[in-house]
């Protein structure tokens, strides 16, 4: 979970929806992060990864910061959870004096929802605390990848560009290396100690921010447990006496029982991403995570039996008519169908757990969302694959002056403040009285807070994965516990944690699979077409790419 979760709102759930579908986008759009300095490089120094000693030299020192002890410590790759009442009077100060030198910075960032006015109370308060005049160029997060390529190709780049990993398809990795600054001189080793909150960012997230052999990204650390939760309407399940399924067949049977088109109720929305988890398919979120060693052989996710099984099961759901027709038509929003009771199960980013509860609190107080445990297809333990240690990065323009870079780092030091600090509170809740009210010691965002304190600053850099919902501590606990249970089944694939850039000629090699998946599950294409596509993929470069990964693995080992 990202720190954004704490500031989730209706817009926030769109964001996570994107995160979910973004996985797909990344899978389809091609090449992934690049790296220099290493093995497997055939096209010069742009592809590969940076690990081992060369990475050690770049990484910032780690200085733990424990402002508030978490009630549920991070375990099994989960976030840490805070469920106790927050002592609002006793908030610590983690950035004692303003680092910012009063410069002005333009930041382009994806935004999910309706952006507030450029000049608003939240932005003013944050800029005041940071000591830098930051202007946000908020772009629609759902279509961010369509704009990003053009912006990066132009000569007029903003000072900072925020790029989620799922938007790093196509040639974006080459743009990151070509257009963004090396932050190593400011942060590597003890350099980071000037920024205590950045020094407390987990090392894995920093390692993952090494692009093209240089430390270029300011990361938003993410838990390694899958972010895709199969949510269900607990209130309806309890009332109707539905049992949580524990096998793929049970799920289908339950779905048939639930579906009553006459009453405009369908069991579920599109469940493809859950299917991948249920059947233990290698991660599709970033290309290198899709590769793994199985019995000494390097395989890609689309080549596995599990991949075909997952698609076949999802196809059965569609064929049985238990999926909402609008999901088949890819129109509207799954989360809205869920809260409206038209579907009782859907999958989305874990941030919806709190997001939907908070969104519906005023209107439907009886609505209760919960996440079901991911089950193994045959009822045993599932096999889940770890996600990357960071999901969203902020990059600084290569042409930025030293003063601008330092102002950006000053801002990131504030936004990365941990839970329990004044900086965290301002970043995630805004100004007391203006953006949130406190009742019985519980801060709750008001309308203005929900409008203004969304996205923006939290996109810059974040603290170690944190889940804290002072208004709904029960939800925070369920979220962390779910992550920990699922974390126990989570394994790391062989390239986990390494920021890898494939050679440019393979950039578009795997573009068509996501589309094919969507065609197959909706019954428009056959499983045989997938097998055919895989065999074409091998011939068109898949086998060469396999050799490339093989060599990369031989040269660098795995990061674990």
């Amino acid at each position: 979970m990202t720190p954004n979760a704490a500031s989730a709102s209706p817009g926030q759930s769109r964001r996570s929806f994107l995160a979910a579908t973004g996985l797909a986008t990344a899978a389809v759009t091609g090449g992934m992060p690049l790296l220099a300095a290493c093995g497997g490089a055939e096209d010069g120094s742009k592809d590969g990864t940076t690990s081992g000693k060369s990475a050690q030299k770049l990484l910032p020192a780690y200085v733990a910061s424990n402002v508030v002890t978490p009630d549920i410590p991070a375990r099994n790759g989960s976030a840490m959870g805070f469920t106790r009442k927050l002592d609002l009077a006793g908030l610590k100060t983690s950035v004692p004096k303003k680092h910012g030198r009063g410069g002005s910075i333009r930041i382009m960032s994806p935004f999910w929802g309706t952006p507030p006015k450029g000049d608003n109370a939240y932005y003013r308060a944050m800029n005041d605390l940071i000591g830098v005049d930051i202007t946000w160029q908020n772009q629609d997060g759902n279509t961010y990848d369509e704009k990003l390529g053009a912006v990066l190709a132009s000569s007029d780049l903003p000072d900072v560009v925020v790029i989620p990993s799922w938007n790093m398809g196509g040639r974006i990795p080459s743009a990151i290396i070509g257009k963004f600054a090396d932050l190593g001189p400011y942060l590597s080793g003890d350099g980071v100690k000037k920024y205590p909150n950045l020094a407390a960012v987990p090392t894995g997230a920093w390692q993952y921010s090494i692009f093209g052999g240089k430390l270029r990204g300011l990361p938003q650390p993410a838990p390694s447990v899958t972010g895709i939760v199969p949510f269900y309407r607990k209130d309806v399940f309890d009332e109707e006496g539905y049992e949580i399924p524990t096998t793929a067949d049970e799920f289908l049977a339950l779905a048939k029982e639930i579906t009553r088109p006459r009453a405009k109720v369908w069991a579920c929305d599109d469940m493809k991403w859950t299917a991948f988890n249920v059947f233990g398919v290698l991660s599709g979120s970033e290309k290198p995570l899709g590769w793994n060693l199985a019995d000494g052989k390097m395989v890609y996710r689309v080549e596995t039996e599990e991949y075909l099984e997952a698609l076949e099961w999802t196809r059965k759901l569609y064929a049985a008519g238990v999926v909402h027709p609008d999901a088949r038509a890819v129109r509207g929003t799954a989360g809205d169908r869920f809260t409206a009771g038209q579907v009782l199960i859907y999958n989305n980013n874990i941030s919806d757990w709190w997001g939907k509860m908070a969104e519906q609190a005023g209107q439907r107080s009886d609505l209760r969302i919960s996440g079901m445990d991911i089950f193994g297809a045959d009822g045993g333990d599932p096999t889940l694959w770890a996600g990357s240690p960071a999901g969203i990065f902020a990059f600084v323009n290569k042409k930025a002056s030293k003063a601008v870079v330092e102002d950006v780092l000053a801002a990131a030091d504030v936004t990365a403040a941990p839970y329990g600090t004044k900086e965290y509170m301002l970043t995630n809740y805004g100004v007391e009285g203006t953006h949130y009210t406190v009742e019985d010691g519980v801060p709750t965002k008001n309308d203005k807070g929900n409008q203004e304190v969304v996205n923006a600053y939290v996109m810059l850099a974040g603290p170690a994965p944190t889940i804290a919902h002072p208004d709904l501590p029960v939800i925070a606990e369920e979220q962390v516990k779910w992550q920990q249970r699922m974390g126990a089944f989570t394994r790391k694939s062989v390239f986990w944690g390494m920021q890898i850039t494939e050679p440019a000629r393979y950039t578009n090699l795997s573009d068509d699979f996501e589309q094919l998946e969507d065609d197959v599950v909706r019954g428009r294409r056959k499983i045989g077409d997938v097998q055919q596509a895989v065999s074409d993929w091998r011939k068109q470069g898949g086998d060469e790419l396999r050799d490339w990964y093989r060599k990369l693995h031989d040269d660098t080992g795995s990061a674990q």
């Binding site: 389809v28 759009t29 091609g30 990848d145 369509e146 390529g149 990066l152 190709a153 132009s154 000569s155 398809g169 196509g170 040639r171 974006i172 080459s174 743009a175 070509g178 257009k179 088109p261 006459r262 405009k264 369908w266 909402h324 027709p325 609008d326 088949r328 038509a329 890819v330 129109r331 509207g332 038209q342 440019a504 950039t507 578009n508 573009d511 068509d512 589309q515 969507d518 065609d519 909706r522 428009r524 294409r525």
Partner: protein
């Protein structure tokens, strides 16, 4: 400098704002002269400079936004990477040339041929099912005599044109979708529901129907204008000769519309490969690219989404060349039919 009578200076003077003096002499030169042909370039320039100046802004716009971008087509013969230079142009200079490799890739891609087939089928359907609708509507509206009813019906016909595609498709989904009004009403009365929006087999009819609903009314305008220009004398004369309603339609109205119909047909054929972008992109996922991909969305998908710029540029170039050939052919046919067409040599 502006007191000189040397033409060049005067033209200069005009651009610097000494306009009043400029208007006189050139106008005086015009009477009695044969049109342009025999005049020297300089004289013609002197004579027309006011007009030339007035068109200049438009010419600049066309140059900057239509002609300069044509140079960008060069990336179709490259393996273009926009990020190797500081700007798009510098990146072009640094990207490697690959000859016709992108075109070879395109022709070997079954998805491209799907897109071509879908585009042509859609074009055919639109030509047969969409094109005649505005003509019929125009005749209907034209036959309404009362101005008020006529105005109201025209307004109703035009209105959908101003809805965005997102809205139109959402409305169609709410009505004809699997959970739409019609399907739900049927289910409530014990029948099977249906889903028109996700059926690849009827997708092209659906797209055409959406187009008719949204834009047929708008297309009426041109034909109404043409109808307004038909002299009432012709109808009266025809009626005197005993022609009934249908004969008047056949022998007076339709021949009057023929040049306009021919012109629009030529334009439409030239645009044959452009069958709707936003509308189709929005519904592409509902039926899959096998049924919904057209050339424009194919270019968009590969260029913008997959950032395979050279590949997309090559596909766009193919589309452009075929379109030019179609316009020329259609124009020729129009001439053979004895109509004006779009242009004449």
């Amino acid at each position: 400098m502006s007191h000189s009578t040397v033409p060049r200076s005067r033209a200069e003077a005009q651009t610097t704002g000494a306009a009043p003096r400029a208007a006189g002499p050139p106008a005086g030169e015009r009477p009695g002269r044969k049109p342009s042909g025999r005049l020297g370039l300089r004289l013609r320039f002197r004579r027309d400079r006011t007009l030339i100046l007035m068109t200049l802004p438009a010419v600049v716009l066309v140059l900057v936004f239509n002609y300069v971008p044509i140079l960008g087509n060069a990336v179709a013969f490259q393996e273009y990477d926009p990020y190797v230079g500081d700007n798009g142009f510098a990146a072009m200079l640094r990207s490697p040339w690959v000859g016709l490799q992108q075109f070879e890739r395109i022709f070997a891609d079954p998805a491209f041929w799907d897109a071509v087939r879908n585009t042509l089928v859609l074009f055919g359907l639109q030509l047969v099912l969409f094109f005649p609708v505005p003509i019929v509507l125009a005749l209907l509206v034209n036959s309404v005599v009362r101005p008020r009813i006529r105005a109201v019906s025209q307004a109703i016909l035009y209105l959908p044109h101003f809805f965005s595609w997102v809205l139109v498709i959402t409305v169609f989904q709410q009505i004809f979708g699997g959970a739409g009004i019609i399907a739900q009403t049927l289910r409530r009365h014990g029948h099977e529901g249906f889903d028109l929006m996700t059926d690849p087999g009827i997708f092209k009819f659906l797209v055409t129907a959406e187009g008719v609903w949204k834009d047929a009314g708008w297309g009426v305008i041109v034909f109404l204008a043409a109808l307004a220009s038909v002299s009432p004398d012709l109808y009266e004369a025809a009626a005197m000769d005993g022609a009934g309603r249908w004969r008047r339609l056949w022998h007076v109205t339709l021949p009057a519309l023929r040049p306009v119909i021919a012109l629009l047909l030529v334009l439409r054929v030239g645009d044959a490969l452009t069958v709707g972008f936003e509308q189709i992109l929005l519904q592409r996922d509902a039926v899959g690219p096998g049924a919904a991909e057209v050339l424009d969305t194919y270019v968009w998908w590969n260029g913008v989404r997959n950032q395979d710029f050279s590949y997309a540029a090559a596909a766009g170039l193919i589309k452009g060349l075929v379109s030019v050939a179609l316009v020329l052919a259609a124009n020729k046919v129009a001439h053979l039919m004895g109509e004006q067409g779009v242009y004449k040599k």
